[in-house]
């Protein structure tokens, strides 16, 4: 094959490689853009949780909060469990989601501790880790008394 034929072959090969690569990349990025989730967190809002008088005082109050939430085309009822408590410094709201791997922790009356049923995480009444694998304490949620309704509200 003469020189110009070889040049032509090389040019064609480059064309095929570059354009083919670009097209493949284009399709791949389309899929990537489509596949990337559009929203991974729900904006937080204040939710009514309980009346201040509902708190027993000697232990945290377990509250299940339900909210309607758009889950893509699906409207779901999202339920969250929160522990409400009160001490000298005011009200406290703790998430019931274990800081280790997300199991739902429970208040144990006899031990007066939060126990995680999965891997043995133990938290005190303030949510601090006492034992087990959790890397940090239970998440503290913002809590307030709504001045209009005098109800306890949690930001979730």
């Amino acid at each position: 094959m003469d020189g110009s034929g070889e040049d032509r072959r090389t040019a064609l090969a480059r064309f095929v490689t570059v354009i083919g690569g670009l097209l493949t990349a284009g399709v791949a990025s389309l899929v990537g853009l489509v596949a990337a989730p559009m929203r991974l967190t729900t904006p937080r809002t204040w939710r009514r949780a309980a009346a201040p008088d509902d708190l027993p005082g000697n232990k945290p109050l377990t509250v299940v909060l339900t909210a309607r939430d758009a889950d893509g085309w699906y409207e779901t009822k999202k339920q969250s469990v929160v522990f409400l408590d009160r001490d000298a410094s005011g009200y406290r709201a703790l998430s019931a989601t274990c800081a280790h791997l997300g199991c739902r922790v429970k208040w144990d009356d006899t031990q007066a501790k939060f126990l995680c049923p999965c891997h043995g995480g133990v938290y005190d009444r303030q949510g601090n880790v006492l034992a087990g694998p959790p890397p940090r304490g239970l998440e503290r949620l913002n809590v307030r008394v709504n001045p209009q309704t005098a109800q306890l509200e949690v930001e979730l």
Partner: protein, 528 residues
């Protein structure tokens, strides 16, 4: 390439032999003269690959249940990033695949490439075409809108025509007593789990056999040395892929056809139309009434596909030149022309409502109102720059759009102050007439009949049944002319208590003029 990278590739080649795979894939020797016609198969392959990719991306958001399928497709179209484009790509991609498959088939027939020793690959190709059509059919149901639902009902009923096992086949496709949730999951499974590996296997076999026997090349063999696939033919393939891809992207940018209302088994005013590549079959069915239907539905397509499959055995000459194969090419051309003709006829026949038969009083009243409405004519006239005249066969807006427009033209056509109808009954009549006008012009009626229809629709229809439409509080008036003449009717309409002391019907003597009452009475008296 650095020596180190070279060494790594050498190691990989030693362990996997990837260079020989690359050699097998790219250095395929092609007969001299192989050119653009031979890119069609590659386009088909690229199209199928794109369907796999876009289909997978759609599946990330799609839910195959009657409760959510429609919503999830709406979500994809309106809310997912690039979702409308993605759905457009998949929708129009299906058409690209069908077109590419047919063009590839035409190329193979034209070049006589099905000849010995490529018979098996020819048959595999025909099966691939059928699998592609099965993809189209099963994918059609998934959006679960009216179009999807009714097209599926029809195709399942066609499957019933299969001799002996028809009921079983239909039952298997339906998955339950009715087209519903069980059908949707079933067709979804077929579309995304069953057909793809079947197609992949067939395509792999097709490509393997293509390589085994080599490309057939031009009709008249040329002298010269074979040319390697890469890079010359690859560049042709790629150029075609870019061209087809550009057209596809353009189509997809406008999105897939809008979702129709969600599937509604009770809708009586909906006429289903299949996707364009089934329009030929759809049209064919119309020519085989009653028990003969099986001929149009299964026998004709079956015979056509069988004949096609037998091409290598029918056409066994040595030369692939056209003039030596006049018979088979002629037969193929006739078949192709028939499909094109049937498809065009099917495409031209597009009524959008199921209503047939004579126009009822409400529809007649609506036609009269449309014709005489100054409000409609403000915009809908031949000279208007705003909107064309209201003409039979040219009404494409969906029913809900029309309903909004008729009640409040301002919403859709700013500047139009007055709606054509000021009461619900006139509105209903106009909408009923528009639904009929989609497919056929209003029948000619003398002016008194048309006026009677308007008056009857406005004043009487809510209580009285006529020709199958109307209320049931009062007597059915479909044949009232057998009992009363016009004078007796007029008396009853004017003041029913005059004739029947305990009549519940209100008197119309004060509401309608004597001339109007006469018009209604005469029209009713003619109802024999």
């Amino acid at each position: 390439m650095t020596p180190r990278a070279e060494a790594l590739l050498d190691w990989l080649d030693d362990r996997t032999g990837f260079r020989s795979i690359r050699h097998v894939l790219l250095d395929e020797p092609l007969p001299p003269g192989t050119a653009w016609f031979f890119t069609l198969g590659s386009i088909l392959l690229v199209g199928l690959g794109l369907q796999v990719v876009t289909g997978t991306a759609l599946a990330l958001y799609y839910a195959p249940t009657p409760d959510h399928a429609w919503d999830s497709v709406r979500f994809i179209t309106t809310e997912v990033r690039l979702g409308s484009f993605l759905r457009g790509l998949h929708h129009w991609g299906a058409s690209v695949v069908v077109v590419a498959a047919v063009l590839h088939l035409i190329r193979v027939v034209g070049f006589g490439s099905y000849r010995k020793p490529r018979e098996v690959n020819w048959i595999i190709g025909i099966v691939i075409l059928q699998v592609i059509l099965a993809f189209g059919l099963t994918g059609y149901l998934l959006p679960w809108d009216q179009r999807a639902y009714w097209a599926t009902v029809v195709s399942i009923n066609i499957s019933k025509l299969t001799p002996v096992v028809g009921e079983w086949v239909a039952g298997f496709l339906r998955g339950g007593p009715e087209v519903g949730a069980l059908t949707l999951t079933r067709w979804y499974a077929l579309h995304v789990l069953v057909l793809p590996p079947v197609l992949a296997g067939l395509v792999a076999a097709h490509l393997y056999l293509m390589r085994r026997h080599g490309i057939s090349g031009p009709v008249r063999e040329r002298r010269g040395t074979p040319i390697e696939f890469y890079p010359r033919q690859a560049a042709r393939d790629l150029t075609m892929a870019i061209a087809v891809g550009a057209v596809l992207a353009l189509l997809a940018w406008k999105g897939a056809p809008a979702l129709e209302p969600p599937a509604d088994p009770t809708a009586s005013n909906y006429i289903p139309r299949p996707e364009w590549y089934f329009l030929g079959l759809f049209q064919l069915l119309k020519y085989f009434p009653g028990k003969l239907e099986v001929i149009g539905a299964l026998v004709v397509p079956g015979v056509a596909f069988t004949l096609l499959a037998l091409f290598p055995w029918i056409d066994r000459g040595k030369s692939r030149a056209w003039r030596d194969r006049a018979l088979i090419l002629g037969a193929f051309a006739v078949g192709l022309a028939s499909i094109v003709t049937l498809t065009s006829l099917g495409a031209m026949d597009r009524p959008s409502t199921a209503a047939t038969g004579a126009w009822n009083v409400q529809e007649l009243a609506g036609a009269m109102l449309i014709d005489t409405s100054a409000q409609c004519a403000t915009c809908h006239n031949a000279a208007s720059a705003i909107a064309g005249p209201i003409e039979a066969g040219h009404i494409g807006r969906p029913a809900d759009w029309l309903a909004t427009h008729v009640v409040d033209p301002e919403v859709i056509a700013p500047g139009v102050r007055q709606p054509p109808a000021t009461n619900q009954r006139d509105t209903a009549a106009i909408l009923a007439a528009l639904a009929r006008l989609r497919s056929a012009p209003a029948p000619e009626q003398d002016p008194s009949t048309r006026e009677a229809a308007v008056l009857f629709n406005r004043n009487c229809l809510s209580c009285h049944l006529v020709d199958g439409i109307g209320g049931v509080e009062g007597p059915d008036l479909s044949h009232v002319g057998r009992k009363y003449d016009a004078a007796a009717m007029a008396k009853r309409v004017n003041n029913p208590v005059d004739v029947k002391p305990d009549a519940e019907m209100p008197a119309f003597g004060g509401k309608l003029t004597p001339a109007q009452i006469q018009t209604i009475a005469a029209w009713l008296a003619a109802k024999q």
